[in-house]
């Protein structure tokens, strides 16, 4: 089937559907890697994960093995292909750590944290023309960091990250600004605990948010685009997550349905922003948090609104699922988290979720943050397992012979609601445009 025929839209009747072969075709999956994942900015890590010189983390990004390391010489973050320039073995073999050098275990070629090749056993046997400086580790073509979030691109000609982020920037900024208020507030001793709060692991990192230790890394037997749809789908909350809302109800939390809006941010990015009956660690106390954190959260809320005005109120009161095309979600709801979707194969994706917290945080708030997050999200939560079930179920349905999936909801809404599907239509259109443009260049 031609890429151009995979989406059918009839504006007059408000109809939008995509062909389910987009979820099952090997050919389309290969085209996605080539024309989307090799052409976009992709999130790789947060700078707080490598706070000290020599710190590294290992990642797979757009199915390529990489590692991120903070240079011992300059303190700058570098991202390299995780492959020895000699015969190809992966040279970074742990998920994270600190290293002086990286030595390939196969033939003991050794590289420093800037990627320079500094050791080759029996180097003289390569002859007089062998030049070690030509065999350093290969950096990714582009690497840029925005407010601590490190992105890479495999396209040397990709536009600058700040331009790529387009309207998503102001949402990242507002979230970081609110977190900075929270971190400063806790650091100044406005807490029930000591002035240092829970910031002990943040040495060497001075940004507002840090990634907490512990990663939710799990697999879903479904196409990656189904999790994109699901992650900013306000429509599924009631039916899919009934047991989570029952849990909140049992904790005397008022569970009126969320309401809110959706905003398109350019370049395929979008955000839903909505009310929630649950509490927010920055900063909205709710019954399920218990009394210990109440005073602290209410004081923090007042401080954020005081310093950031209307934006501060939105940051404290409302929830956001911010999509950065093609595969990153910044979740700012029950807690703050990054969800990275890795398109491993047509019918299988790897998911990584990192929880973020202010670099200094009052212990009572940290406690409710952790609990609020894991009761809802992650593989052991009361909600995420049911999303996994829904997506695997959709993947099975994609082979049923029923050919089209419908994304028409809210087609005629003037103010797009958070429970509409316009954000998904825009995602699918951008996806199609990139595949079409790629096919054109290829021919």
């Amino acid at each position: 089937m031609d890429i151009a025929d995979l989406i059918v839209e009839r504006a007059e009747e408000g109809y939008f559907a995509y062909h389910r072969s987009a979820l099952t075709s090997e050919e389309i999956h290969r085209a996605e890697l080539e024309h989307i994942f090799n052409r976009s900015w992709l999130f790789v890590a947060h700078e707080s994960e490598v706070p000290e010189r020599g710190d590294y983390v290992r990642r797979s990004v757009g199915t390529r093995p990489l590692f991120v390391v903070r240079s011992r010489r300059t303190g700058e973050v570098r991202v390299f292909a995780n492959s020895c320039t000699h015969r190809g073995a992966t040279i970074c073999r742990s998920d994270r750590g600190n290293a002086k050098t990286f030595q390939c275990f196969y033939h003991a070629w050794t590289f420093d944290s800037d990627g320079s090749l500094i050791g080759v056993p029996d180097e003289e046997t390569y002859g007089p023309h062998f030049d070690k400086s030509k065999f350093g580790l290969v950096p990714v073509p582009r690497m840029e960091s925005y407010r601590g979030m490190i992105f890479v691109s495999y396209d040397p000609d990709v536009e600058d990250l700040v331009d790529y982020l387009a309207g998503a920037r102001e949402y990242i900024d507002a979230m970081m600004d609110a977190a900075e208020v929270a971190a400063t507030f806790s650091a100044n001793g406005h807490g029930s605990g000591n002035g240092n709060g829970s910031g002990a692991d943040a040495d060497g990192w001075s940004g507002p948010l840090q990634v907490l230790r512990g990663t939710h890394r799990y697999g879903i037997k479904a196409n990656w685009k189904l999790l994109v749809e699901n992650s900013f789908d306000g429509y599924h909350l009631g039916p899919t997550h009934a047991t989570y809302f029952q849990f909140l109800k049992d904790q005397n939390v008022d569970v009126s349905p969320s309401t809110g809006t959706m905003k398109l941010l350019g370049n395929g990015h979008a955000v839903i922003e909505y009310s929630g009956s649950w509490g927010r660690p920055i900063a909205r106390w709710a019954e399920q948090f218990g009394d210990a954190s109440r005073q602290q959260l209410e004081a923090l809320r007042e401080k954020i609104i005081d310093e950031l005005g209307e934006t501060g109120f939105r940051m404290a009161e409302l929830n956001r699922n911010l999509f950065i095309y093609p595969n990153l979600f910044v979740m700012d709801n029950n807690a703050t988290a990054l969800r990275v979707i890795e398109p491993t194969s047509t019918a299988y994706m790897d998911v990584a979720q990192y929880e973020l917290a202010p670099r200094v945080e009052d212990p009572t708030v940290r406690k409710v943050r952790l609990e609020s997050y894991v009761t809802f999200a992650g593989p052991g939560g009361l909600a995420t397992p049911d999303d996994v079930e829904a997506l695997e179920s959709c993947q099975q349905g994609a082979s049923s012979g029923v050919e089209w999936s419908l994304l028409s909801r809210g087609y005629f809404s003037e103010e797009p609601p958070m429970s509409g599907e316009l954000q998904m239509r825009v995602f699918w259109r951008r996806w199609q445009e990139q595949l079409l443009a790629g096919a054109l260049v290829a021919s």
Partner: protein
């Protein structure tokens, strides 16, 4: 159940206990049986009110639950919430119910602490079958049990998974 405490094999501050391994095994086997039969409310009865049920992430087994992201860090109230969920037809990941088999072995009773809480560890394998899923969770229980009246009850379970990552599994949607 503190992080440093749980994975330590031989705790020097424990003293010999009169609780026999056979009695602890009976408790763990009963737990396994009730979970496999989906008798979740009966399972909850095995726990003390100050229960702690903890599963750190695969990449952070020596976690600090006060500061780190866990899969599960439940007290009795949250365990009760989990049981309510699992007994609901709206727990979509587990309805229809999966078929599970909890296998517990290598049980060691290490001694008791000053509060009379008995500490020990065991190896486990939990198989889960459902639709196309054939999941096997393997790891270690660091458990604490305590006598309440004449019964021995579970006070804590720290569950360390051996796999380096949870993937390709999508969830820990059952009780391990």
């Amino acid at each position: 159940m503190s992080p440093r405490e749980a994975p330590v094999l031989e705790r020097r501050d424990l003293r010999p206990t009169s609780v026999a391994r056979a009695e602890v095994e009976d408790l763990l086997y009963t737990e396994a049986y009730l979970l496999d039969e989906w008798r979740m409310e009966d399972w909850l009865e095995l726990w003390t009110e100050d229960a702690e049920y903890v599963i750190p992430t695969n990449d952070n087994p020596h976690a600090d639950p006060e500061n780190d992201l866990m899969y599960i860090n439940h007290d009795y109230r949250l365990l009760k919430g989990l049981v309510v969920r699992l007994m609901s037809v709206h727990a979509h990941r587990e309805y229809p119910w999966s078929k599970t088999r909890h296998i517990v072995s290598n049980v060691r009773v290490l001694g008791e602490d000053d509060d009379g809480v008995v500490h020990g560890d065991a190896a486990f394998m939990v198989w889960r079958f459902r639709l196309q899923d054939r999941d096997c969770y393997v790891g270690r229980y660091d458990f604490r049990v305590r006598r309440v009246g004449s019964d021995l009850k579970l006070a804590g379970k720290w569950i360390t998974l051996d796999a380096w990552t949870l993937a390709p599994y999508g969830a820990v949607s059952i009780i391990l």
